[in-house]
């Protein structure tokens, strides 16, 4: 192993196929391809939605029709044909399970392959998992425990039926239908997603978690997540994704809305591992996601993300710091390899007094990939004593990839303190030499250094998730990280 060089590693990385590329054969009920008002109505009808919801979707659809696909991001791809996508797909076996034994064994097999079996999850972490297989939620665990505390954790379609007043009040309040092209599309056709409400003063006793998978070929996945933390509550929410190998590009346009009322805290962690395409750059998932949270007085929203998958990523989890003394945080690791392209970052909008935000972004690019950080820090004139610290570090492996930084800093208040710093470098030969000297082979040394580079962000992940994140870093970059 002593002669293992960075070139060898590069070769190995390039030839590394997607390990989670398998396809579960579950009979699905899929809509015909194409999108018009009838399809939107049909989706709504299928889900048995009330009139206001149908209208809301139709309004979004009309807005979407008038919009154009954005082109400003630093990514190039063949635009998806929106009339060539089926907008609804649900596994046909759709009973609600109370215990794990009732779940379709084939489905369980899928999760076992991913190493995230429900049993293991239940035992190890006490995580309540709301599994989204394609678009419909098929299993929810720990619901009873949560119900005791008054916590609502269910699929959004269920929430529309059972808690329409909450959904009606908050849906679209952070990401309105007209926000952007993909948010409008999502608002019109979202099939399912998660809904979470934490009542006043309740501290959620466990990490809430959802696993998303795109399963049916040619099906767009349009998730809608709504998390509401009422006054003084706390919740930690985990979202993780893996998708099976597909040759055609799959579209994923999700919307996540977080609402942190006075003194509440939301911690939202994502591990994203959609299929990135093979080493020639064929296939892979397009990930165009709108994530945004709003903080009221003294509230805190913390985004943590580990982005290793997708052919094209376009994602900016943002915080609107509306209330005084509110806090926004963003921790991100974005790894791109082969032909992957990522344009990701955050927006911190400071509106209230004494608001604080922290941005730590780590980009690792290898192969022929392009990795961009794009962030906005905006301090409004009324945001007295706002404070921001941003740090964006990039690591380049090989000279065919690119790392880019596009920070936007707009300040309108003299009491603001804003700091931004960014560095780009490669793994130092002296660092590798130092490790070699101490008997650590090059492969391990690189893993060690990458791990150290990402540590700041990995540390922010909840314990239960950190394991998975490490695993994904391994798959994306090398076999022996950690």
């Amino acid at each position: 192993m002593g002669k293992f060089t960075e070139d060898d590693l590069k070769k190995e990385l390039e030839t590394k196929e997607y390990e989670y590329g398998f396809y579960t054969d579950i009979e699905s009920e899929t809509f015909p391809v194409g999108l018009d008002e009838d399809i939107v109505r049909a989706i709504s009808a299928k889900k048995n939605e009330p009139e206001w919801m149908t209208e809301w979707r139709l309004e979004a659809f009309r807005i979407w029709k008038a919009m154009e696909e954005p082109e400003w991001a630093n990514v190039t791809y063949e635009k998806p044909n929106f009339q060539n996508i089926s907008y609804y797909s649900a596994p046909s076996t759709k009973p609600k399970y109370n215990s794990i034994d009732e779940v379709d064994p084939e489905l369980l097999e899928t999760f076992n392959k991913l190493g995230i079996s429900l049993e293991e999850q239940k035992k190890l972490a006490g995580v309540a998992v709301d599994i989204v297989m394609d678009s419909v939620s098929v299993a929810t665990t720990f619901k009873d425990t949560l119900a005791e505390k008054g916590i609502i954790f269910c699929s959004i379609s269920e929430a529309i039926q059972e808690h329409p007043e909450l959904v009606k009040k908050y849906i679209g309040s952070v990401v309105p239908q007209k926000d952007n092209f993909y948010a409008a599309l999502n608002s019109a056709v979202f099939s399912d997603g998660s809904f979470c409400y934490i009542p006043k003063g309740v501290r959620c006793p466990m990490e809430l978690s959802t696993y998303f998978r795109i399963n049916q070929a040619g099906t767009g996945q349009f998730e809608r997540t709504l998390v509401i933390a009422d006054e003084g509550s706390y919740v930690s929410y985990l979202e993780g994704c893996t998708a099976p190998s597909r040759d055609e590009n799959q579209l994923h346009a999700a919307v996540v809305e977080l609402i942190a009322l006075d003194d509440a805290e939301i911690k939202y962690s994502t591990v994203q591992n959609w299929f990135p395409g093979d080493k020639e750059g064929n296939g892979g998932v397009f990930n165009f996601v709108t994530k945004r949270g709003i903080c009221e007085k003294n509230a805190k929203i913390s985004w943590t993300q580990v982005e290793t998958g997708s052919a094209v990523t376009w994602k900016y989890p943002s915080c609107v710091l509306k209330g005084d003394n509110s806090i926004g945080e963003f921790y991100s690791i974005a790894v791109t390899n082969n032909f992957q392209q990522a344009d990701t970052g955050t927006k911190m909008i400071h509106l209230g007094k004494n608001t604080r935000s922290t941005i730590i972004s780590k980009g690792i690019s290898a192969g022929k990939s392009q990795n961009s950080y794009r962030g906005l820090v905006k301090i409004h004139p009324r945001a007295e004593n706002a404070r921001n610290f941003s740090q964006c570090d990039s690591l380049l492996m090989g000279n065919k990839c690119g790392a880019h930084t596009f920070p936007y800093i707009e300040t309108n208040n003299k009491t603001a303190q804003v700091e931004h710093e960014a560095t780009t470098s490669k793994i130092g030969e002296d660092q590798i030499f130092y490790c070699n000297q101490r008997g650590i082979d090059t492969e391990k040394a690189i893993a060690l250094i990458v791990n150290g580079f990402s540590k700041e962000v990995l540390n922010k992940l909840p314990m239960e998730f950190a394991v998975e994140a490490q695993k994904l870093l391994e798959i994306s970059l090398e076999g022996s990280v950690g």
Partner: protein, 437 residues
């Protein structure tokens, strides 16, 4: 009639006075067409996101001066570095003033672009360099189309220019609104050294819009030290384009001091074509009132083993707006690079705005690139320290501001100029410190 239409129609009139069969004319025709296609930039374009030209383009600018104006030396003496001997190229309303200038052909050429464009003697240089590095953006194209006058500086091999060269553009304001489009060409041959100071000065309160383009070519081991003094009246606006092409081992430094003017936009582009180039971009911006200064820099690293250093400091008062949009672009061949970019800002008033966008685009792996950007206030503790030692508040603040800008000021290598800039800063902050830093 909008300014664009007016420009297009006056180009037709302008064309009648030109030699139609010269290669320069082809450039002009192409450029005006390019401008016609692109039009003036709007805020919708990413590069102009924070700067609107709307109000700037409103006045009815006269495009050619109606008559030649003369100036008395005593009226404008203060704008020169009069204590030291310099070469001077002076323009009054875009027309060369031989009375105020001091040019030379002795061992080098410090003269006019108009003569360089028309005389055969200069043909090889013009053919090799003119319009070779200027971008084809709409405003540079506009300048190329109308360019007929400006400074022409040619420094041959192994020549060290013993005194600084001043390029001064005066606007007399004899007309209600004036559009000036100076065009400068600077060629510094192998191992030659030169220091240049550029200044635009309006002499009345009538509106002046200057759209200036400067091309600088630094050949092997050349050394160029370029100072831009922007301390114009509030009626004057400047859009400055400086394009610099560097060959191997050359060093180019551009120092921009923006204190005056209504709207200033500096497009400063460096292209490093040879190995071991060093580019330095420094700037101090101190604004008040409704001033708007936009620094748009690009350092394009094409060859390996190069360096670039950017350091921009800004102090913003009242309703002023500062924009910094710096970009470092590293091609995949440009390995072993050291690029550094820094932008520090102090906001003094609640209504001042700063928009900063430091960008890195990197395609090479063995590089050291970093950038930093801060926005903050004067340190309260430091202020208290000074005040506790009996220094009045105003002076204490001024001292801290000096200290803040000092890094950049240290880079000024012409002592007389440094003294002047110190004075300008003191005036701008409104204090007399009684000593020179």
């Amino acid at each position: 009639m909008s300014l664009k239409e007016k420009l297009l129609s006056s180009y037709l009139a302008f064309e009648d006075h030109l030699e139609v069969d010269s290669p320069i004319h082809d450039l002009r025709t192409q450029a005006i067409k390019n401008f016609e296609d692109l039009g003036f930039p709007t805020k919708k374009q990413e590069a102009w996101k924070y700067t609107s030209l709307k109000t700037l383009l409103k006045p009815d600018y006269s495009i050619f001066p109606k008559k030649e104006n003369t100036l008395e030396l005593k009226d404008v003496k203060k704008y020169f570095l009069h204590d030291v001997d310099t070469y001077k190229i002076v323009f009054v309303d875009g027309v060369y003033s031989s009375f105020l200038s001091e040019t030379t052909h002795d061992g080098m050429d410090v003269c006019l672009l108009s003569s360089a464009l028309s005389k055969d003697k200069y043909k090889p240089v013009i053919e090799a360099y003119y319009n070779k590095v200027a971008q084809e953006s709409s405003l540079t194209s506009l300048n190329t189309a109308f360019a007929k006058e400006g400074a022409y500086i040619y420094i041959p091999k192994h020549t060290e220019v013993e005194k600084p060269i001043e390029i001064i553009n005066f606007a007399t304001g004899n007309e209600a609104a004036m559009l000036l489009q100076p065009r400068n060409l600077v060629v510094v041959e192998e191992n030659a050294h030169v220091q240049i100071i550029e200044r635009h000065q309006s002499l009345s309160d009538n509106a002046v819009f200057t759209n200036s383009v400067t091309e600088i070519f630094a050949e092997k081991r050349a050394f160029v030290d370029y100072y831009k003094i922007q301390n114009d009246r509030i009626s004057a606006s400047l859009i400055d384009h400086t394009h610099i092409k560097q060959e191997r081992d050359s060093i180019c430094k551009v120092h921009t001091f923006s204190f005056g003017g209504k709207l200033i936009r500096n497009n400063l582009n460096f292209y490093q074509h040879g190995e071991r180039c060093d580019s330095v971009l420094n700037g101090i911006t101190i604004l008040e009132g409704k001033q708007h200064v936009d620094h748009n820099t690009l350092v394009h690293h094409i060859a390996p083993n190069c360096e670039s250093h950017q350091d921009y400091k800004g102090i913003f008062d009242d309703n002023s707006t500062g924009v910094f949009n710096g970009k470092v672009y590293v091609e995949k061949e440009a390995q072993k690079l050291d690029a550094f970019q820094q932008n520090n800002n102090i906001l003094i008033s609640d209504k001042a705005t700063i928009n900063s966008k430091p960008q890195l685009e990197i395609f090479a792996d063995d590089v050291k690139c970093s950038h930093g950007c801060t926005i903050g206030q004067l340190d309260e503790d430091a202020l208290f320290y000074l005040r506790s030692r009996g220094i009045a508040k105003k002076e204490a603040r001024a001292l801290l501001m000096y200290a803040f800008a000092n890094n950049v000021l240290e880079g000024v290598k012409i002592p007389e100029l440094k003294r002047r800039i110190n004075k300008l800063i003191a005036n701008k902050i409104g204090v007399n410190l009684g000593f020179n830093l």
